[in-house]
């Protein structure tokens, strides 16, 4: 139920009181409300739940933490887990 999927904001426009974006998920695009992430710009990735972006994915933070995971993979002895 709390499923949220990251997608890339292609373009955004103001429609009435809301800001609505075209967001790309893999091969498909969907309309997404940006009201809860006012700082988001085209090119950003957002986490989308029931048609609303609920947060902006921070690329620097994602890269930093993923790099640590990659390092761990290199450092850990290659054994089958119990």
């Amino acid at each position: 139920m709390c499923l949220a999927v990251p997608g890339k904001v292609l373009e955004a426009e103001n429609v009435g009181i809301s800001r609505i974006a075209k967001v790309q998920f893999g091969g498909i695009t969907r309309q997404v409300y940006l009201d809860f992430v006012p700082e988001v710009e085209p090119g950003d990735y957002v986490l989308v739940h029931v048609g609303f972006a609920i947060s902006r994915v921070e690329p620097e933070e994602a890269e930093r933490t993923y790099e640590l995971l990659r390092q761990l993979e290199v450092e850990m002895p290659d054994e089958e887990p119990r």
């Binding site: 139920m1 709390c2 009201d35 990735y45 986490l47 609303f52 947060s55 902006r56 993979e73 850990m76």
Partner: protein
């Protein structure tokens, strides 16, 4: 897809499992709250990757599961009235009350987003459009927006049947129990994306329990478990954020402002668990005209749950689905006896779907 595929990497998952194995010196019982995380854990067979000292128990974070049968029956009753268009998230329509909402008859439509229900109301001024507004804090801003839009446009034919629940009061119930077994929690990442994690810092400090805000992919969950094990083995108890790519300490201020405008905290009944004080939302008085229970009258409905069901114990981490004599025999996703079997995100249903993973059939 970016930010998904890399967190399903088998090599990193194995490295994390090896790291956890190297740190563990004694048994620890950990709970993930969110049903989406339960589903990932069972789907990817994570318990099999972990050392036997780590026991994962599964929390009550499946909103479809904990929606009381009385509200499901209320939904069926409203949906079957002439002139009503009843709109719901798809997974809620399959839950059997006395029967399922779908089988109850009427004009029933599935929506991906609650704003679609507002659109249907706009386009059908002669019909009463009712949206089944369920969910945790992740979904609350979207449901609040639907009510707010309808209010702003002056729609008089839109209302919402609400069963909104909150995570921290349920964690408090589990932690405050004299028989609590949970020694560390994975907090629900998408709830925290909206709410931030200050409430969880307070819980961690009050109960001296490690809490890690975790994501939803297998690597996210294994890293969260590794962070919890590090804290437990070091004798620390604090709040840490594994899901930092998407969760900040304060969450979305605009989402919370809108939720606060439309909703107020109320007591809620949790299916399988019972009443929990201050554990949900209802519409504020200013939005009473959009409350389906008021619009359609709230007669007393009482539904008896099968006494055999141990969902309450499962959802508080005191029992595993396989401890139940009815599991997989008298209780299946097609004919569920209780809360944790009714949705694919319930612990019992997840064990049933993926029980090849180290779960005795």
């Amino acid at each position: 897809m970016k930010y998904l595929d890399e967190y399903r990497d088998a090599g990193i998952a194995r490295a994390l499992a090896t790291r956890i194995k190297g740190r563990v010196t004694r048994p620890w019982t950990l709970m993930e709250i969110c049903g989406g995380q339960t589903h990932t854990i069972m789907r990817y067979g994570l318990p099999e990757l972990l050392p036997p000292e780590i026991e994962l128990v599964h929390g009550p974070g499946c909103p479809v599961c904990v929606t009381p049968l009385e509200i499901v029956d209320r939904a069926i009753e409203i949906a079957s009235r002439p002139g009503v268009i009843f709109v719901s998230y798809g997974d809620m329509l399959r839950v059997p009350g006395s029967r399922t909402v779908k089988a109850g008859g009427g004009d029933i439509r599935i929506a991906y987003s609650p704003v679609e229900a507002v659109k249907i109301a706009r386009e059908n001024p002669g019909r009463a459009v009712v949206f089944f507004g369920i969910g945790f804090e992740t979904t609350a801003p979207a449901n609040a927006m639907a009510v707010w839009q309808a209010s702003r446009e002056g729609l008089t034919n839109f209302s919402m049947l609400i069963s909104h629940v909150l995570v921290p009061p349920a964690m408090r119930l589990i932690l405050g129990s004299p028989v609590n077994r949970v020694q560390g929690f994975i907090a629900p990442g998408h709830v925290c994306a909206v709410m931030g994690y200050q409430e969880y810092e307070a819980l961690s400090a009050e109960f001296r329990v490690p809490i890690v805000v975790g994501g939803f992919e297998p690597v996210d969950l294994l890293e969260s478990i590794a962070m919890l094990v590090d804290q437990l083995e070091d004798g620390r108890a604090g709040l840490e954020n594994q899901y930092s790519r998407s969760v900040t300490r304060t969450g979305s201020a605009t989402a919370r402002k809108l939720m606060d405008e439309v909703f107020e905290v109320s007591d809620r009944q949790w299916r399988g668990i019972g009443p929990i004080a201050g554990s949900g939302y209802k519409l504020r008085e200013a939005y009473a005209a959009f409350d389906a229970e008021r619009v359609f009258g709230a007669g007393e409905i009482h539904v008896e749950e099968p006494a055999e069901c141990i969902a309450a114990l499962v959802m508080q981490g005191l029992k595993k689905p396989v401890d139940c004599p009815a599991f997989g025999t008298r209780c299946t996703p097609e004919k569920p006896l209780g809360a944790s079997m009714v949705s694919s995100e319930g612990a019992c249903a997840a064990y049933y779907a993926y029980r090849r993973h180290g779960v005795p059939a």
